[in-house]
């Protein structure tokens, strides 16, 4: 009797938890098709106008000058976000991977210290990171803009990539690299043919992770973005004061879909490779 009650309470609680978690997302999805141009929280019939507007297609709002202008700004910030995230992901993946390799494969002085330094940016509060980056850029004379955002994002995303790739490297038997050298492969050949393919899921995972975090970052970017280089999160944050544009629902929906796609690709890559590794482990040592 008591157990029954406990179980019901528990499942009720879980249900509530998931409703809290996903209801807002569900609402955003539904209201992205809302045809009411004035109040986005009142249902005004089904419409694809917001999606059309995002992609610059003709829609029922085309004659409203104010809308068009701010839609351009919205799209501009989306473009900025995408290009910043792409370049950031690329740079931090390369640097993070090389750093992980250096720390895992070579022995040198102060190694533990370097490792600690790499963990620091993850633990530092965003506000602190943002303000210190701002002061840094201003002092050194780098104008605030896309470049400063990219440098700022890389400064902490390198850490994320480093950790993801390091985990992958830690699970890799160093004997494999020795076996490759033993069979006559020089270090570069060994890296290309053995090490890189083995850690590739980690590298791709790190790249996707840094892309998503860069897309998503508000606090740090808020400090270091210039007036004409607003990213999407910063723009949306600013919109709260000027009034929220309904397009935001459509953009959010598209971003969620893109994130799901990226996460799915990441998961697929993670699960595919270790199957061979696990089988290998169960026979070795």
């Amino acid at each position: 009797m008591m157990r029954r009650l406990g179980q019901n309470l528990l499942s009720g609680y879980s249900l509530l938890f998931f409703v809290f978690l996903y209801l807002p997302i569900g609402l955003i999805f539904v209201y992205s098709f809302n045809g009411n141009p004035l109040n986005m929280m009142i249902w005004g019939g089904f419409s694809l106008d917001w999606y059309r507007s995002i992609f610059g297609m003709a829609n029922s709002l085309a004659d409203n000058v104010q809308y068009i202008e701010s839609t351009d700004q919205l799209l501009g910030s989306l473009r900025t976000s995408l290009s910043v995230a792409l370049i950031t992901a690329l740079i931090s993946t390369v640097i993070g991977t090389l750093t992980a390799l250096a720390l895992a494969r070579f022995r040198f002085r102060l190694q533990g210290f370097y490792r600690m330094l790499l963990f620091m940016p993850m633990m530092m509060p965003d506000v602190v990171l943002g303000i210190s980056l701002l002061i840094f850029f201003v002092n050194i004379g780098i104008p605030l803009g896309k470049v400063s955002i990219i440098i700022g994002h890389c400064s902490f995303l390198v850490s994320y990539v480093f950790i993801v790739v390091s985990a992958r490297l830690a699970g890799m038997d160093t004997r494999l690299e020795e076996a490759s050298a033993d069979l006559g492969a020089n270090p570069w050949y060994t890296f290309r043919r053995i090490t890189l393919p083995m850690i590739l899921p980690g590298v791709i995972g790190g790249a996707l992770l840094s892309f998503i975090i860069s897309m998503d970052d508000l606090v740090i970017t808020y400090f270091i973005s210039g007036v004409d280089s607003t990213t999407l999160p910063v723009y949306i944050y600013g919109m709260i004061r000027r009034g929220i544009k309904p397009e935001i629902n459509a953009i959010a929906t598209l971003l969620i879909l893109a994130s799901l796609l990226i996460a799915a690709v990441g998961l697929y890559l993670r699960n595919r490779q270790p199957a061979a590794l696990k089988a290998e482990d169960s026979h070795g040592s």
Binding site: E178, A179, S180, A181, D182, G184, A275, A276, H283
Partner: protein, 372 residues
Amino acid sequence: MSHTNTPVVEIKAAVKHYRTPEGQAVRALDGVDLSVGANEFVTLLGPSGCGKTTLLRAISGFEQLDSGSLIIQGQPMNDVPPYQRPVNTVFQSYALFPHLSVGDNVGYALEVRGVPRKERDTRVGEALEMVGMGGLQKRKPGLLSGGQQQRVALARAIVNRPALLLLDEPLSALDRHLRQSMQRELKKLQSELGIAFVFVTHDQEEALTMSDRIVVLNGGHVQQIGRPEAIYDRPANAFVAGFIGESNLFKARVSVVDDQHAELVSDVGDTLRVRRGELQLNQQVQVLLRPEQFHLDCPGSSDSHAWLEGVVEQTVFVGKDFEVSMRTPQGSQVKAVVRDAARQALQRLHAGETLRLWYASQAAHVLAGGAR
């Protein structure tokens, strides 16, 4: 020796220290000399931690010697990186590349050297055929059993015909049955290929059955190098005697000498009789008697034979033989293996019976020095 006189590998005075994370120095190799002839099967034998892997890794180039010289096929190798040494290794953990197929694993050494695909495929096929794994090129290594992975690792190491093959305890992960058949196959493969093998094991039986020569290592020192029979019959010191085979070892002092024989008294008071050799009166030595050197009855003239007497403590029947454990009045324990005991002899082996164990005095091996 039946081998050609230019050695494949020559190591002189090799010294290697490791530093533990706590900063202590570990002496893994302490002045090791070793030379391996072409087509020779040399086994490094010793307890865990004696430096076998270190010596192997020094040859393959994954460890740098602190001092000493390493010459492979007449070329000094101390400063040559592993990928330029004409040596291949079969790793203890196999170390097959999990993301490559069996065929690509085996063909790796050829691929690295830019051997065209067609020739590579033929040679990979041949190598896999040699280890009894023909036709498995397409498989991924993760899907193979331990024994099969072992064979693939072997094929991968021999496909390019190295001057020397290094094998680090390659059979230790296999079960007993598989291990024995792999021992025979390895030996056969070695004579077919004509490649010198340096084989590492801590299993003395494996070393005795497979090797042309055995190198017994302990604490980074070479204890003895020799043919298996020599190592077994005439161990150089107490460590070798104790590590290889069962042994009864007596610390003893020469008490009586005549032309042919010497009589000795052990530290607890047992009397022993050996061939005189170079022995001097009052010399401290150690005497080794292998369990299978004992007989229940005097097999020849009583002049050339001697005996130990004691009370039987335990007798175990192990197939053909009886393993007898006896204690002398002086307190020494003597282990003997007696074969085909006749019916009435069986009586004598019961626990508590007094038993006389005979041995030929020239069979007793005298080890130099009473110290260990």
